[in-house]
C-alpha cells in the first residue's frame, strides 16, 4: 500500500480518465435518495452520499443474468457468453468494500469458483471513499467500519483533499496517469487519523454483540421469533437491498416461438415462501421460521465457517423494512429476551 494526496478538485479528471477505460458506476442522487448508476458526468458523482437504496452487488451478481442460451429441438447449448464488462465502482463505503470480500468467500472459495461472478469481479475496479455514519449505520458492531483490502484505491476525506490509499498496480497506474496528486506529509497523516477518530466517535448507537452466536444457539425457540414473524411482510426487501445476500434461483425461459430459450439466474430471498418449497411442502412455512433463518444464516452459519458474520452494518435493510425488523433490533431482542416497541 502506498499513499497520495489527491485534491478534491482533481477528482473529476480522475473520473474522466478512468472512464476512458472502464464504465464508471458511482453514487448519484435519485429523488430524495441515492443510487449507484452509470456515471454520465463527473459532476453527478455524489461522494457525500449517506447510503444507496441498492448496494453495488448487482454489478458483480446481477439480479438477472443469462447463464446460457439453448436450442429446444437439438437440446444443445447454443451460446454461453460471459458478460463481464470492465467497470469501476467509484465511491464504495467501507461496509460495501467489505461486503464484496464476504461474497468472495462464497463465490470464489474452494476449487470451483462461480465463473460468472469471478469474471465480473476480476474486471471490476474498486474505488472506496470514507463516510460519516448515518443514524441507521452499525458497521462498527462488526468491525466492517474499516477496510484494509478489497479496493484498488480508497479515498479518505481530509477536508479539501483525499488521503488516497492505493493498493493495486492498476490503481497506482490510474492515479499516476489521471491525478496530479502529491506525496503525503506528517500533517496529512495526522489529518487522516483525526478523520478516522471523528468517524468512530460519530456512531449514535452501540450494539451489544457479546456472545451473539451462543445467544442464537440458546434462543432458537425464543418467542421473539414468533413476534418478528407476526411483523414480517415476507416481502424480501431486506435481502434485496442487502450487500451480502447472495441467494439465487435458476430457471429456463423459452422465446415466444418456443424453439430457443435461455437459462437465467435471478436473485431469490429466503423470506419468500417458495424459497424453501420442496416436492412435499415447505420446511420453512411460517414467516417466523424464515425471519429466524435469515439471522441464523448471517450471524451463526456463515460465522461458523468464515469467522465473520454475513452483515456489514450498512443499514439498508433498516431503511427498507417497513415492518421495522433490523439487525440492531433483533440483536437487542436476543440480549434482552423481548422485542422492544
Amino acid at each position: 500500500m502506498f499513499f497520495k494526496i489527491i485534491a478534491k478538485d482533481e477528482v473529476p479528471d480522475l473520473v474522466r480518465g478512468i472512464a476512458t477505460e472502464y464504465e464508471v458506476i458511482g453514487p448519484q442522487a435519485k429523488g430524495t435518495a441515492f443510487v449507484f448508476a452509470p456515471l454520465k458526468d463527473p459532476a453527478d458523482l455524489r461522494l457525500d452520499y449517506d447510503m444507496t437504496i441498492l448496494p453495488a452487488k448487482r454489478y458483480i451478481l446481477p439480479e438477472r443474468e443469462t447463464l446460457m442460451r439453448f436450442s429446444v429441438e437439438d437440446n444443445e447449448v447454443v451460446e454461453a457468453e460471459l458478460d463481464a464488462p470492465r467497470r469501476a465502482l467509484f465511491g464504495l463505503h467501507p461496509c460495501d468494500v467489505n461486503s464484496l470480500l464476504l461474497m468472495d468467500n462464497v463465490f470464489l472459495d474452494g476449487g470451483d469458483p462461480d465463473p460468472y461472478y469471478k469474471a465480473r469481479r476480476e474486471n471490476t475496479l474498486i474505488i472506496g471513499v470514507s463516510c460519516m455514519p448515518a443514524p441507521t449505520c452499525f458497521c462498527d458492531a462488526w468491525g466492517t467500519d474499516e477496510t484494509h483490502r478489497g479496493f484498488d484505491i480508497f479515498l479518505t476525506d481530509i477536508g479539501d483533499s483525499y488521503y488516497a490509499s492505493i493498493s493495486s498496480v492498476r490503481g497506482a497506474d490510474l492515479v499516476d496517469r489521471f491525478a496530479k496528486g502529491r506525496d503525503i506529509t506528517a500533517e496529512d497523516t495526522a489529518a487522516f487519523q483525526e478523520r478516522s477518530a471523528a468517524f468512530k466517535a460519530a456512531f449514535e448507537h452501540e450494539i451489544d454483540t457479546s456472545q451473539l452466536p451462543v445467544l442464537l444457539d440458546a434462543k432458537y425457540d425464543s418467542p421473539i421469533w414468533q413476534e418478528f414473524g407476526e411483523m414480517c411482510l415476507a416481502c424480501g426487501a431486506c435481502s434485496t437491498v442487502c450487500p451480502t445476500c447472495y441467494c439465487f434461483d435458476v430457471h429456463d425461459e423459452l422465446d415466444a416461438d418456443q424453439k430457443h430459450g435461455e437459462r437465467v439466474r435471478t436473485w431469490d430471498s429466503c423470506q419468500f415462501k417458495d424459497f424453501a418449497g420442496v416436492a412435499h411442502g415447505n420446511f420453512r412455512d411460517s414467516r417466523a421460521s424464515r425471519v429466524r433463518y435469515r439471522y441464523y444464516h448471517k450471524q451463526w452459519g456463515y460465522l461458523s465457517r468464515y469467522e465473520k458474520v454475513l452483515c456489514v452494518g450498512c443499514g439498508r435493510c433498516t431503511r427498507a423494512c417497513k415492518a421495522d425488523i433490523n439487525p440492531p433490533r433483533v440483536v437487542r431482542a436476543l440480549q434482552t429476551g423481548v422485542v422492544d416497541r
Binding site: G31, V35, F272
Partner: protein, 246 residues
C-alpha cells in the same frame, strides 16, 4: 398438431386483449406455435366445439357467463385467466358493495342490459383455473411466460409474494417515506413494480398476494401516520370480491 386456442371475453373493457394485440414483436412467433381458432375481439365466426386452451378475460356477471364457463371447463384442457376482472373480480366486482339493482338503475336507467345478472365474481368462483396472468391490464412479457408454460405443460407459478422486493430492484423511493400509502405492501408481485417505477403508488390490480401480511400492513400505516382504514379503502378498487382477512 399445434394446440387449438380460443380467447374469450366476459365483463371487462377488453384492455388485456388489446395488450395481446400490442405484442407486435412477438405476436407472429406466438401465432406460429398455436392454432388460434377463435378470438372474440379480433376474429369473426363462432366459438368452435373443440379446443385445447381457453384464455379468458373478464368477470362473470350473468347466468350466461356462468354457463359459458362451465362449458369451457368441460372442453378445454387448460383454462388461463387474464387480467384483474377474471382473476380477482377487479373493477366489475366493485358492484358487490351495496345493492346491485340500485347500481344498475343508476348507471343504465331502465335499459334491458345484463339479462340474468348475478353478483360479479372472478372466474375461479365458478370453475377451476389452471393458469393466471394477473394485472390491469396484463403485462405482455408475463403473458408470454405463462403461455409458454401452458404450451410446455408446466405448472403455473404466479408469484405468491408481495411487491416490495421488485420495487427495490427499481430503486424507487418508497411512497411510505414520502407520506403516501402504496398497496405494493400487500399486492402480488410479478409486474416488476411498474406503477411505482413510473411515480404512482400501487393500487393493487394484481390482487392481494397469498403471502401478504395484512395485519402488519395496517400497523405500518399507523406507524407512518396514515389512517389504517385507508388500506382497505384502496383495496376496494380491485379487490372487493376477495374476502380480506383481518
Amino acid at each position: 398438431m399445434a394446440p387449438r386456442v380460443v380467447v374469450l371475453s366476459l365483463a371487462s373493457d377488453f384492455g388485456c386483449q388489446v395488450q395481446i394485440t400490442n405484442m407486435t414483436d412477438q405476436i407472429l412467433d406466438v401465432l406460429g406455435v398455436i392454432d388460434l381458432t377463435y378470438w372474440q375481439l379480433a376474429t369473426s365466426g363462432h366459438l368452435p366445439a373443440e379446443y385445447d386452451v381457453a384464455i379468458i378475460e373478464g368477470a362473470a356477471t350473468t347466468d350466461e357467463h356462468v354457463a359459458l364457463l362451465k362449458k369451457v371447463r368441460e372442453t378445454a384442457a387448460a383454462v388461463v385467466a387474464i387480467g384483474s376482472c377474471a382473476n380477482i373480480g377487479g373493477v366489475p366486482a366493485m358492484a358487490r358493495e351495496g345493492d346491485l339493482e340500485e347500481r344498475y338503475a343508476t348507471v343504465y336507467g331502465g335499459a334491458a342490459v345484463a339479462v340474468g345478472r348475478i353478483m360479479p365474481r372472478p372466474i375461479d368462483a365458478v370453475i377451476d383455473v389452471d393458469y393466471r396472468v394477473p394485472g390491469c391490464p396484463i403485462d405482455p412479457p408475463e403473458f408470454l411466460r405463462v403461455l409458454s408454460k401452458v404450451l410446455q405443460g408446466l405448472k403455473d407459478d404466479t408469484p405468491d409474494k408481495t411487491m416490495c422486493a421488485s420495487c427495490k430492484l427499481n430503486e424507487t423511493v418508497c411512497f411510505f417515506d414520502q407520506g403516501q400509502v402504496c398497496l405494493g405492501l400487500v399486492t402480488r408481485s410479478g409486474c416488476a413494480a411498474r406503477c411505482p417505477s413510473l411515480g404512482r403508488p400501487c393500487t393493487g390490480c394484481r390482487g392481494v398476494a397469498p403471502d401478504a401480511n395484512l395485519g402488519s400492513a395496517r400497523e405500518i400505516l399507523v406507524r407512518y401516520g396514515q389512517d389504517p382504514d385507508e388500506l382497505d379503502r384502496l383495496l376496494r378498487i380491485y379487490n372487493t370480491s376477495r374476502e380480506v382477512p383481518v
